[in-house]
Symmetry: C2
Subunit: 359 residues, 2 copies
């Protein structure tokens, strides 16, 4: 398919900050965007005149949306499978339904990655309390019990330290089935945002070193403080994943960096078929940021240059931390606020990119 | 006045590419924008749900617009004085009506600059053919006869090389009065984009060296190939101008670089009270670009960091040159397309920023 020309319309499922930033990037390439989201108060609705406020299973609304756009993408991995199939039958859906199906199910994701010889944590499917007991026998404790679907930002998971906690944790987590993952005593967490386009071109941004706070990403620091060989290996694994998925768009890959004798090794924690919070730093220091890269891929364009022009720390502004902008930040810092009307504890309200060294 | 918080609404007069890029920059700071433009087909209407399609002298529409926004700015210097006054009486207008009045009249602008000891070309007001004859006597030929109002991209001016051309040129140029400017045999043209905020903070971007083609800006190259002392002097003159105007926002200052004995000197060609085409390079290589800088100033925010992270050439895509994107540009290049629906000869359709050296 030839590249979509300027003036084309990109349909975006999801109206949060990622959808908003995708829309802004699309506008810079001369595109129109149409945001589809059930929440009438979505921040992405403020950056385009074209919107649909409807449920993700409203087939009349989905059909009209598909008619109004040239290509469809999304900002979140929990797009219902039926919605993805319905839309993909009408207009190109990028990334495809396959990537969604795999990444919205932890078990399917881990099986897929393992089948491509990508290292993942030892794990067992848990459909019953008996399964959980057997999984604990196999993996030992501590271990992490997780829902296979709909988890994010630490929701949908419990750390098990004692066998006596198993029954309560099993009862509390919904929806079933669950998965028990061996606890990985990692040194640090890193992530790589990688892109693949319709012609098979693949490019990765530099790895970011991530620190979480209250299960929410707090900072991403670039470059990551890891051996150069390990960073190259992370990029290679990320590229293997997008090739194996026949993927089109940007994908986030989270890794644990684990001790391995004298050195360190990588274990993939999870993948996200979308632009990723740990890639927001690209906006400040790359000629092509992750949002433009995703839009380029979705449009069938050549990928842009992901090279980095400076060292940077991205910090999320959660809850009322957003009030530190503009007066509490210094001149070496680029803010991005999401225009959310209500400040709530634990809500991602914006982020800042702080330049730590100019190269 | 305290800085406007995220979620505030910025009203923008003018719906062209500059208004569109201002709106995108405002969205990145969490703001809403409302675009006012008489042309229903304005490209800026594609990046916000809030618009007014009405004439600039429609007082009912202007009043409703002022009611709907928190602060007002504009993308072009030819906002009618009555419109500016009407709006400024209702909401803060930044930059102010004073800057508009001066910059939309070549004679007023030159008188103002000269009064601040800023070097400008020798010139004479021309209200009649007799004035023109006297002006030619005083300034010599060649000289450039210009309208005092509404000129842009080479429109509204004629180069006089022969006294016999005077009458025809005088008759052809409208509206009167006109101004005759001595022809400046310049070595090159440069420009400086400078910003001042509500607290009086002033910051300038690096100077760009500009090349025109068919009277339209073709390329801006940064750094400009001039002596460091001359660049510092240009920044200083630009800062003097915004201070003298008690200006709030971004202002473009165009200079001629002229021979001066063994060295070079500067003559101000014109000023523009808005973001400037020769500042589009800032988008690719500065932590704060000219659009965000303007929005910060208009919001009463501290200014951002204008430091440059790489060398760059901005090239305008005029007419069907826009069709070279995406396949005809290389990976070291950041495109920005304006989403204009109709390609016409001489129409600015987009620009590209090409990185020439990473520092």
């Amino acid at each position: 398919m030839s590249p979509l020309p300027q003036g084309s319309t990109i349909g975006i499922l999801g109206g949060g900050q990622l959808g908003r930033m995708l829309s802004l990037a699309a506008s810079k390439l001369g595109m129109k965007t149409h945001i589809y989201c059930p929440d009438a108060n979505s921040p992405a609705f403020e950056v385009t005149p074209h919107k649909t406020v409807a449920a993700y299973d409203d087939e009349a609304a989905l059909a009209a949306f598909a008619d109004a756009v040239d290509v469809i993408t999304y900002e979140f991995e929990n797009v219902p499978a039926a919605t993805a199939e319905f839309l993909a039958a009408r207009k190109p859906l990028r990334p495809g339904a396959n990537a969604l199906a795999i990444s919205q199910d932890r078990l399917a994701e881990k099986s897929f990655l393992a089948s491509k010889n990508i290292p993942v944590a030892p794990h067992r499917a848990v459909e019953s309390l008996a399964d959980l007991e057997a999984a604990i026998d196999a993996l030992g404790l501590p271990a992490v019990l997780k829902t296979t679907r709909l988890g994010y930002d630490g929701k949908g998971q419990r750390v098990l330290r004692d066998r006596a906690d198993a029954a309560a944790a099993f009862a509390a987590l919904e929806p079933k089935p669950l998965v028990l993952e061996a606890f990985i005593p990692f040194d640090k967490e890193i992530s790589v945002v990688v892109a693949r386009n319709t012609t098979g071109e693949v490019r990765a941004f530099d790895a970011a070193e991530n620190v979480h706070r209250d299960h929410i990403l707090f900072t991403s620091t670039v470059p990551a403080d890891i051996a150069p060989g390990l960073e190259k290996h992370a990029a290679m694994l990320a590229k293997v994943i997008v090739v194996a998925l026949d993927y089109v768009g940007v994908l986030g890959v989270e890794f644990f960096v684990v001790p391995s004798g004298e050195r360190q090794a990588l274990v993939v924690n999870e993948i996200a078929p979308r632009v990723h919070n740990s890639g927001h730093w690209t906006e400040a220091v790359c000629l092509t940021d992750q949002f433009e890269q995703h839009i380029r891929a979705v449009l069938g364009w050549p990928l842009g240059d992901p090279a980095r022009m400076a060292d940077v720390v991205m910090e999320n502004l959660v809850g009322d931390e957003v009030l530190t902008v503009p007066t509490g930040i210094d001149g070496n810092t680029q803010p991005h606020l999401y225009g959310k009307t209500e400040i709530r504890a634990g809500r991602k309200m914006g982020h800042i990119n702080k330049i730590t060294r100019r190269s």
